[in-house]
Amino acid sequence: MALVLNDEQLMLRDAARHFLSEQAPVSQLRELRDTGNEDGFSRELWSGMAEMGWTGILVPEEHGGLGYGFTGIGLILEECGRTLTASPLHASSLVGVAALLLAGSSDQRSKLLPAVAAGEHLLALACDEGPIHDPLRVNCRAEADTGAWAINGSKTAVVDGHIADSLIVSALTGGGVSLFLVPANTSGVTVNRVAVLDTHIMATVEFKQVQLGEEHLLGEKDSAQGTLDSILDVARIGAAAEMLGLAQEAFERTVEYLKQRKQFGVPIGSFQALQHRAAQLFGEIELCKSLVLKSLHALDDGEDDLAELASLTKAKTGETARLATAEAIQMHGGIGMTDDFDIGFFLKRYRILENLYGDSNFHLDRFARLRGY
């Protein structure tokens, strides 16, 4: 597939940019924080996204979605990055849907996907247990007990876990790791809301003797490690798309500031010390655009070097978003440090996305392993 957007995708991106700049500008995030919003996102906005079809954009048409593929939702996430829009789009409509598509039985799909596509049923992935992303380290246990499962353990950094209707949970099942679809209202499930530094909400979830029937097993028993990795690669590429959006926006705001801010009687953008750093950052962002687009295409085409590509994309885009947001603060000077000014929100959101699903170090290591060194 050529590394350009087709007309349909360009229209989708423009529509997304227009909708988000009107319905969910950065000021909305500030308002959510200042009003102490419990959900951490606007339910009204979410209804609007559902009306646009975004909540089901990845869901096949047979299950009530648009079937636009990964490139479609990736473009929207990139635009959400520009406006720092808070919503369960990544957790539910991308990661949750991908999990059902990759591992769900036809029963599970037809039961859940229509409601997820409509934005009425929210999904969240619960796989990490410690402070550092490590999907191989699973202590959560599911024990078979006369035709039912009993789950015990706890999960951390569950994105949008506080509002999820169903949790996708990894647990040890004797012979390996399995995935479970756990309704959040099941007895024994305790969800604790944790506000994080970008004013989004995460959750820690505890499972105490949670009893589940066989139909809650997602995919094959004992052999979900590979599936989980594939689900995580989708999550990683989605996070990279969002980071690409926020890096571009932070960069464009910074370049604009360099042209306007005057010191010593001239725009500070006329100083070569700043020009060269801006030019380098421009290049880094161009590289990331290619990566994100290639990764989204690779997901749509089911290419087989996806793991390597996902790690490359997550690490490089994370590194670039780090640079873009750090330079944004530095080049804005003192005003960049103030809470009144929006640029700091970009730095905060970057840090969350950098940590989720493996930070740059995690993915450098994974990339090197995959390449045999």
């Binding site: 350009v4 020009q275 421009f282 990566l291 690490a315 450098l364 090197a368 390449r371």
Partner: protein, 393 residues
């Protein structure tokens, strides 16, 4: 799609029959490169045959029009040809500044007469070209060049000097930026001219580099005769041609940062030389640097691919050649640094067969020039900040 497949089959069959066996392995050293030209001595009968056969098909310049001796191939066909050549590890039949640099400028700005005169001999590898751009006092500030080309009625007379002429001592003809209007502003008095380097008044002096090699010369002109019809583009409009060619040159240099087909990736070399534990390289610090390098290498590759796709779709970004030149050359410097670290003291050898006459050390030293030649990294960043980002000053 099927047309491309048919073409692929045709190319494959032709290569099977026409590419000599000894030409089916990468260059072992610079001495294996076929440069062509009046004074070129072929290393072997096979090398000569390979050039003649490829030139006969026009495939030394596959994208050029057939009427000028080229292959007349479309973009997709050129790609197929490249892939099929790479598949059998075929050596390039000819490395030529005529093909890579002068040709594109002639095709875009040259008169019909000049195209007919110069392009076919370039395709056949009969004339070796040298480029005369930089001068001792015109490096980054190229437009301040001072080589004087004066009107003498029926011809021009050129006096002055050029520097950093690649293989100037081996060139047959030169394409050269000269000053033809001495009163005009610096960008407006420059012309793009061509002349035979065998003409009286041309002297070349090789420049020895830190790598111990002399791939460049200083080139001196003392009243060299330049024919009046040998001007590309309008008189005094040479800067337009020069900029076009520089853009082209920068795009080419960019790919020096990428490992070409058949090169062993740096990470695999490191694993082989240094050894691994459970698939993880012994040297953890070096491993991180290598992974970052290989990531950036893949990024650049994909971005060049995207830029090509964008041009095809008619949504070009414009001044991106500067960005690619900057990244490609900085990347190649990193590659050479990593290879020096991986090979340790073995990479320090300067002579002897084991080190292929100090190949690693010389390549490392030579790479330092990548971010200087064709416009320094700093000049590329200036261009990006002014022409893409629109920053003032």
């Amino acid at each position: 799609m099927t047309e491309t497949n048919e073409f692929r089959q045709e190319v494959r069959t032709w290569l099977e029959q026409n590419c000599p066996d000894s030409m089916r392995s990468p260059h072992r050293s610079d001495a294996d490169i076929c440069w062509g030209g009046r004074n070129f001595t072929f290393q072997s009968q096979d090398q000569k045959l390979w050039l003649e056969r490829m030139a006969g098909k026009g495939w030394t310049a596959p994208a050029w029009p057939i009427e000028y001796g080229g292959g007349g191939l479309g973009r997709a066909e050129v790609k197929v040809l490249k892939e099929e050549l790479a598949r059998i590890h075929a050596r390039p039949p000819l490395i030529s500044f005529g093909i890579s640099m002068l040709g594109p400028a002639l095709l875009k700005f040259g008169t019909e007469e000049l195209k007919q005169q110069h392009l076919p001999p370039i395709v056949r590898g009969e004339i070796r070209w040298a480029q005369g751009y930089s001068e001792p006092n015109a490096g980054s500030d190229l437009a301040s060049l001072a080589a004087r080309c004066e009107d003498r009625g029926d011809h021009y007379s050129l006096s002055g000097s050029k520097i950093w002429t690649s293989y100037g001592d081996l060139g047959d003809w030169m394409f050269c930026l000269v000053r033809t209007d001495f009163e005009a502003k610096k960008h407006e008095g420059i012309s793009f001219v061509m002349f035979d380097m065998a003409a009286p008044g041309v002297t070349t002096r090789p420049i020895r580099l830190i790598s111990g090699k002399s791939p460049f010369t200083e080139t001196l002109f003392d009243q060299v005769r330049v024919e009046k019809n040998q001007v590309i583009g309008e008189l005094n409009q040479g800067w337009t041609v020069a900029k076009y060619l520089l853009t082209h040159e920068r795009e080419m240099i960019a790919s020096t940062g990428l490992s070409s087909a058949g090169t062993i990736p740096v990470g695999r070399t490191a694993a082989h030389v240094l050894g691994t534990d459970n698939g993880v390289l012994h040297n953890a610090m070096l491993r991180t640097d290598i992974a970052k390098f290989e990531m950036d290498e893949r990024c650049l590759e994909l971005t060049i691919e995207r830029a090509r796709d964008e041009v095809k779709a008619g949504v070009s970004l414009g001044a991106t050649s500067s960005m690619f030149k900057y990244y490609g050359t900085e990347l190649n410097k990193r590659r050479q640094e990593l290879l020096m670290s991986i090979h340790g003291n073995d990479a320090l050898h300067w002579e002897g067969e084991k080190s292929h006459e100090g190949r690693l050390a010389r390549a490392w030293l030579r790479s330092k020039g990548n971010s200087i030649e064709g416009g320094t990294s700093e000049i590329q960043l200036n261009i990006v900040s002014k022409h893409i980002l629109g920053l003032p000053g």
